[in-house]
């Protein structure tokens, strides 16, 4: 399958890239098999995610998953964010080839890790 226009847009124009020095929730996860890495830093006020930033190393789906994920979770409560699944992320991206689903799995794992 071809990558969606959402995918291409996020790849060319990443949203919320970077690091938050004042973050109060951080996770840095790595896929031990392929070496892809995602780092998420969040500012949580009360129970709501006010700001999210990400850094990513790896194949394009990993970069895009980081960008789309930060858009999905900004403004959500931690409980709502915790409910997000791999399928929700894949839907927001407009789908990924099955061989690239591991990128969405890494993103969700990093999110859960940051919120735990």
């Amino acid at each position: 399958m071809a990558y969606s226009s959402v995918f291409k847009d996020h790849l060319a124009h990443p949203r919320n890239a970077g690091e938050l020095p004042e973050a109060n929730a951080i996770a840095d996860e790595k896929n031990p098999v392929c070496g892809d890495r995602l780092r998420l830093s969040l500012i949580i006020q009360g129970d709501r995610i006010e700001t999210a930033r990400y850094l990513a190393y790896g194949c394009p789906p990993t970069l895009v998953c980081g960008s789309v994920l930060t858009e999905l979770i900004t403004g959500k409560t931690t409980a709502e964010a915790n409910q997000l699944t791999r399928a929700d992320l894949l839907k927001a991206i407009g789908g990924l080839p099955s061989r690239k689903h591991h990128a969405a799995a890494l993103a969700i794992e990093t999110l859960h890790s940051a919120l735990s």
Partner: protein, 412 residues
Amino acid sequence: MPFVPFCGKLTLDAMSARRVYLDNSATTPVDPRVAAAMTRALVENFGNASSVHGFGQQARAAVDRARREVAALIGARQNEIVFTSGGTEANNLAIRGLCETSVAHGRHIITSAIEHPSVAGLCLELEKRGWEVTRLPVYANGIIKLDDLAHALRADTVLITVMLANNEIGTIQPVSHIGSLVRERRAAGQRLWLHTDAVQAAGRLPLNVDELGCDLLTISAHKLYAPKGIGALYVRRGVRLHSQNVGGHQERERRAGTENVPGIVAFGEATRLAREEFSERASHDRKLRDRFEARARTQISDVVMNGDREQRLGHLSNISFRFIEGEGLLINLDLEGVAVSTGSACSSGTLEPSPVIRALGVDDELARGSIRFSFGKDNTEADVDYAVEVLSRAVERLRALSPLTLSHGLNG
């Protein structure tokens, strides 16, 4: 009415403002003169080259003319050329064909660690059937050492297959020295042959089978501005091969099947042009490659040039960009119309860094961040400048995203 070729300039995707093709080692655009020769053969010369009547004889004459051109490119005799469907088939015919006729003399093959997948795959297949394979290491420069080869040679070695120039990093192997060694061993009575995959070298380096001292040599048309689906194996007179395609007398019993006359005619025309325009193309490509490397080095930090700086093809540049991954960079370049390739692939959560770059002894991060830029006769200086501009932006964008740059203070 004069013949008018249907093929004009390439029509490219209108979505992108500009398209620059820097993947000439993967395949080359068909030269309009080659397309014109092929179209004439398709339309006007449809006979079966094995037929006795005039139509067949006309096709046979066209095949013979093309065979002379292909032979001339590599300094061979025309009856030493076997047309195949491409480089992979030619490698199969060379290696399987020779091993099957040589099994009484030994079951040991020597190859290099950075062969094209068609040769590497064949060696794996032969190992499953009881053959022993020695893979010569390449060092940081991507070149084998003749001492390693001399140590690997055994009394039961029947075949050495080492590529002339590598497809990812362009390094040139010392095939003529291997050829001298093989001739010495043969003079001493050993049944030993030398095959070289010259798919990347053809049209890029001057080729002469006698100077190389090889017995078998593979070339492919689509790297020479001709279409896909046609290639050739040079088989030195006196070398016996077991045919892999049986059921016909074509190609001197070595490759059964009705000849692909239009493909062969295109290949002949492409090799004629490659020979006649050799110097002009080589200096053009080298000039663009050097311009590209000089500008890329100036504008982008933390780059590693892969492969020997001198003993390499003049049209190709392989660069690793630290802190970022090749596939991400490739797609970023593609979004802005620049086509390149990477040897690394990430699928199903399994990383496959380029085996060629890994063989240079570099770490996984560098192997994952390698990109091949390969220039061709249709590229211009403006293409190079545009590519460097796009590359510079894409590298900066990806590094701003990369957690690997955190400790280097690049993304604050």
